[in-house]
Symmetry: C2
Subunit: 200 residues, 2 copies
DNA sequence: TAAGAATATTGAACGGTGATTAATTTGTCA
DNA sequence: TGACAAATTAATCACCGTTCAATATTCTTA
């Protein structure tokens, strides 16, 4: 038996999330289970329920960590400045590369629906909003005449599109195979949507 | 015990798919299990394995049925003719309404990844391609200068975008709540993407 | 028509799952 | 040191997908 107070609840929580990420990366969504996560950190399944309400809440925290990394990855594009349109493209590609390189985790972000009794907490929505905020800035630069809500909407539309292209492209649901497809799609989407907004 | 030859294999297959759809509609993805499907058609789980390789193959057929309905729903928009751009919008809305009204089934279409030993059959990909073909026609009308592959790509881009907007919008992942959001997003996407292509 | 072959169907079993709980171990403090 | 509180486990429950021997039913042949 692991000794009491070897780890605080916070530590166990953190360890569990990290272990879950490892399992997810190595064995995909199917490989993820309470027993395996607990085993990987030297505890038993029951212990996890001291720290999370259930598996769904653990997954929520895994997803939060994924969002954080995604944010970091996209924000990193800001380090080398360029014109707004190129910046948006770079961000889109960063999103796509993250999705490709961390497929199971990225996928879990969208395929895992929380049960009704566990609503999405506002701190989680805040993380999502921060992600969108990253792309709102270059949009604002590119189209200074857009008011705040229009800009917000544009960022959602653009990101939904990029996301859809990633989802369908990376899942080979487009019946035009190959790795090229997804990149091409994203590029065409960003270019023409922005172009359309400009010539509105 | 159900009497032998009460139903042919084809009948059992069809009954199982229909039962699965009902369960899916009423209890969501979580409620779907071999035992429940079998029970609903008066058989035992084992019988299903005479007719499907495994649950994944059953789900594949459920998804095929979903694609067929989706195709019918979108093709129905062609009955009342209008200009190409309006047609594409109508089709997008039809897609979205289907997704909204048949959420569990639509969602299963994308969230269920087949295991590696069960590759997606070509007849399934063909159904997907037929769906895309529906939107290729009005695109061709709107932009007659596009060559075949450009048109094909445009349809994929557009549909990826519409799909992404549905996924994120209907899942409330956009942190701009409300039912309005998804419709608005799709509208903005279609309008501006096409506008962008025209002014290219 | 009777017997035997063939097949449809079941029911039990296996190893897994998430979740809950009683029982046990451990650390802390009076 | 002893009692109390907290941490942890082990056992349990009700499921899951899948397999397979046993059984019930039909078909074929004599």
């Amino acid at each position: 038996m692991a000794r009491r107070s070897d780890h605080s609840r916070e530590e166990i929580q953190q360890m569990a999330v990290r272990a879950a990420i490892t399992i997810l990366t190595e064995h995909g969504k199917e490989g993820l289970s309470t027993r395996k996560v607990a085993g990987a950190i030297g505890y038993t399944a029951g212990t996890l329920y001291l720290v999370f309400r259930n598996l769904d809440e653990l997954i929520l925290h895994v997803n939060a960590a994924t969002l954080d990394e995604l944010h970091k990855e996209i924000a990193r594009q800001l380090e080398t400045p360029c014109d707004p349109q190129s910046m948006i493209k770079k961000m889109s590609m960063a999103y796509m590369n993250f999705a490709r390189n961390n497929f199971a985790r990225w996928s879990l972000l969208f395929t895992h629906r929380l049960p009704e009794e566990l609503p999405i907490p506002e701190w989680f929505d805040a993380k999502v909003a921060e992600l969108f905020a990253l792309v709102e800035k270059p949009i604002k630069q590119l189209l200074p005449d857009l008011d705040k809500s229009e800009c917000k909407r544009a960022s959602r539309v653009l990101w939904s599109g990029v996301h859809g292209a990633c989802e369908l492209g990376l899942n080979d649901k487009l019946t035009i195979g190959g790795k090229v497809a997804a990149e091409e799609l994203v590029e065409s989407l960003v270019e023409n949507y922005l172009n359309g907004l400009i010539h509105q």
